[in-house]
């Protein structure tokens, strides 16, 4: 089976369209980030989270009323199942948590505390710092690695592709007001590592073709390289997305947002590695007036034939 055999798409010709789609999606996200900001989870904002389960179905109203009677009416209540809720509130002391649980037990049947998390402001701040460090170090390490292995301009276009992927994910999370937690940061870092993977494969192919096919224009080489690695790009994205979908649907409430971030990131990463990374090299050459074709010497034969 080979879906892409003998097919060839012109990615370069339509690149303005692909840039526009990417720019639009990023713009929507950025606007949301500016006007709505992020919904930081208790990991970063500090606060208390309770995951509770009752013996029988309970309405959100009933849960809200009980919280309101304890002056916690401003808590956010998330309904996981008809008998299961996640409640987030400002940070409260252990004795207040006991009080809440006692009120629930008195008014609703069969309460079980599944999970409790309390994070103080000090930890939130230090986690924020750590998340930024981790992202910074990862970005820096990867730029260095690609610069050493390729050329600087390759690392720049891969970084642009990467920023596209990350912006789409955080933009969407802002737009949907999904919580930014430590796991989401972990998902973004994974995307940073993995999305590059795809771009690198295409760029690697381009680099090889530049050496081998010296008579082709740069536009053609880009098209050729993307087409040659297309079935690989699509297939590996698919094989990565399948297990992520499995986590999203079967992994439970704690992992579902994490899986969502990965899913969006992987899709964005596949898009950017096909439609953005190598065409952007063309823009680079135009901006810096680089005349690029295949190098005019006979390429060294690396195959052991």
């Amino acid at each position: 089976m080979d879906l892409f055999k003998g097919k060839s798409f012109d990615f370069v010709k339509n690149r303005k369209l692909f840039y526009t789609i990417a720019a639009l999606l990023i713009l929507i996200g950025v606007i949301s980030i500016i006007f709505q900001g992020f919904n930081f989870g208790i990991d970063f904002a500090g606060g208390t989270l309770l995951q509770i389960k009752f013996a029988e179905p309970v309405s959100t109203e009933a849960v809200r009323n009980i919280l309101a009677s304890l002056n916690l009416g401003r808590s956010t209540i998330q309904n996981l199942a008809e008998d299961e809720f996640v409640v987030r509130m400002e940070r409260i002391e252990p004795e207040s948590i006991k009080e809440i649980l006692t009120s629930f037990r008195a008014k609703l049947a069969g309460l079980e505390l599944l999970r409790e998390e309390t994070v103080g402001p000090v930890i939130g701040e230090s986690l924020k710092k750590m998340a930024i460090y981790a992202l910074f170090i990862a970005f820096l390490g990867i730029i260095l690695y690609i610069t050493i292995r390729f050329e600087f301009k390759y690392s720049i276009v891969s970084m642009l592709a990467l920023m596209h992927d990350c912006l789409i994910v955080i933009g969407l999370f802002s737009l949907l007001q999904k919580e930014i937690t430590v796991s989401i940061i972990a998902a973004i870092l994974t995307i940073v590592g993995y999305s590059l993977n795809n771009s690198i494969v295409v760029l690697d192919r381009l680099r090889e073709n530049i050496k081998l096919k010296t008579r082709e224009t740069f536009e053609n080489l880009i098209n050729l390289s993307i087409n040659q690695s297309l079935s690989r790009t699509i297939n590996t994205s698919l094989t990565t997305i399948l297990p992520i979908l499995a986590i999203y649907f079967l992994g439970g409430s704690i992992l579902s947002d994490f899986a969502l971030a990965l899913l969006i990131g992987m899709i964005a990463g596949t898009y950017s590695s096909i439609f953005l990374a190598s065409p952007l090299l063309l823009e680079w050459n135009k901006i810096f007036k680089v005349e690029q074709r295949g190098i005019n010497k006979r390429a060294k034969k690396t195959d052991k034939e």
């Binding site: 089976m1 390490g141 494969v201 990565t240 399948l242 986590i247 992994g251």
Partner: protein, 396 residues
């Protein structure tokens, strides 16, 4: 087969064997994080107050007292350690009532007896025992006993306040306010608050272990009940199995014979990951399970790269032998580059991540290494064996 190749085959078989030995029985060999087995992770900080500044000695005493309290909670393998200069980390696997545990650990538990003017007559510093019990009406109470010094002070305090209230307070909150009928010289007393049975038990425990010398603040508390932990494990396993099956099928349909080899390599890769986790005594967390599932997808990535390359080479009408060699050597660089970048991200995550996320970074890193090994070494050996015995044509 030359000796180098035999050595490779033996190496692969040995590593699979070691992985299996290391990982079975699975339940005993894999250490589960608190989020999977249930339990509490509590980070405390000693804070300065005007009359009780924090010094190293105070932190050590707090550590000692908290250890004492945790011992009495009956948690099987608690971990209590100093974290930096002022922080104390407490991990309580399988704790049944995390709420009370947190409350008991973090409470200062300063017992004071105050006269009607609100002046402190004596504290609980000289207690030698505290025990929960019931009074003649069946109400839960706490029986306390002072040492000789304490008994003297207590006799003095009761003598001074005959006919008056001598309030008993814990951390400034009044528990009860009995009227002193006559001086008590025995050094024994009972506290009759409005207790539940558990409340009396906890108070007795706190009084036995003594008051913390400085105030302690809870910086972070993450508790997971045993039900949710079990639920997370079963959901994680279900997601993993579904992900694995989907990929095995996809590879088989799209790449046929090659796919079968990739599937075989993938299963070996999974064995190696689990074996490494067990061998390194790494803690498996819920994000860690997600990391393994994610690796399932990434592991076939390298195989796909190699097979696509081999297919291309075959289209150029090269021999099978030459196609395999060219496919591997051309794909190798790409596989390396692509995996190193993911590894860089995973390492950054490991250094800066907290508890459960570290588990993700670990399984992701192990997964990347295991998948590179299986793709580059295992797949190649199998391909070569197949190509030798049959024709490579059976694969396509």
């Amino acid at each position: 087969m030359n000796w180098a190749k035999s050595l490779k085959v033996i190496g692969i078989l040995v590593s699979i064997f070691v992985a299996i030995i290391l990982s079975f029985p699975l339940g005993e060999k894999i250490k589960l994080g608190l989020d999977l087995q249930g339990g509490s992770y509590i980070l405390l900080e000693c804070v300065d107050s005007p009359n009780a500044p924090v010094d190293s000695d105070a932190v050590n005493r707090v550590l000692e007292i908290i250890r004492n309290r945790v011992d009495q909670l009956g948690v099987s393998e608690p971990l209590i350690q100093r974290n930096g200069t002022k922080q104390i980390l407490v991990q309580l696997p399988g704790v049944e009532d995390p709420e009370s545990a947190v409350e008991i650990i973090g409470q200062t538990a300063l017992l004071e007896f105050k006269n009607s003017k609100g002046e402190t007559e004596l504290t609980g510093a000289h207690l030698i025992s505290a025990k929960e019990s019931f009074d003649q009406f069946g109400r839960p109470i706490v029986l306390i006993e002072f040492d000789s010094e304490g008994a003297k002070e207590f006799a003095q305090a009761t003598t001074n306040n005959v006919g008056n209230i001598l309030a008993i307070t814990l951390d400034g909150k009044e528990i009860s306010s009995p009227v002193v009928q006559e001086p008590i010289i025995s050094g024994k007393a009972q506290i009759t608050g409005n207790f539940t049975v558990d409340g009396a038990k906890h108070l007795a425990l706190l009084l036995r272990s003594g008051a913390l010398p400085v105030k302690v603040e809870i910086l972070e508390n993450r508790s997971v009940g045993p039900t949710l932990g079990k639920d997370s494990i079963s959901k994680g396993i279900k997601a993993g199995i579904l992900g694995l099956i989907l990929i095995l099928i996809f590879m088989l349909i799209y790449y046929k014979g090659f796919g079968l080899i990739a599937d075989f390599a993938l299963i070996i890769c999974m064995l190696l990951i689990v074996g490494s986790l067990a061998g390194l005594k790494a803690t498996l967390t819920l994000p860690g399970i997600a990391g393994i599932i994610l690796t399932i997808g990434m592991a076939v990535d390298a195989n796909i790269l190699i097979f696509e390359r081999i297919k291309e080479e075959l289209r150029l009408e090269k021999t099978f032998r030459a196609s395999i060699d060219a496919g591997f050597s051309k794909a190798f660089r790409t596989i390396l580059d692509a995996n190193v970048t993911t590894l860089i991200a995973a390492v950054a995550l490991f250094y800066f991540g907290s508890g459960a996320i570290k588990g993700f970074a670990i399984t992701l890193s192990i997964g990347i290494l295991a998948s590179m090994f299986t793709a580059i070494v295992v797949t190649k050996v199998i391909l070569e064996l197949v190509a030798k015995k049959f024709s490579l044509r059976v694969l396509i």
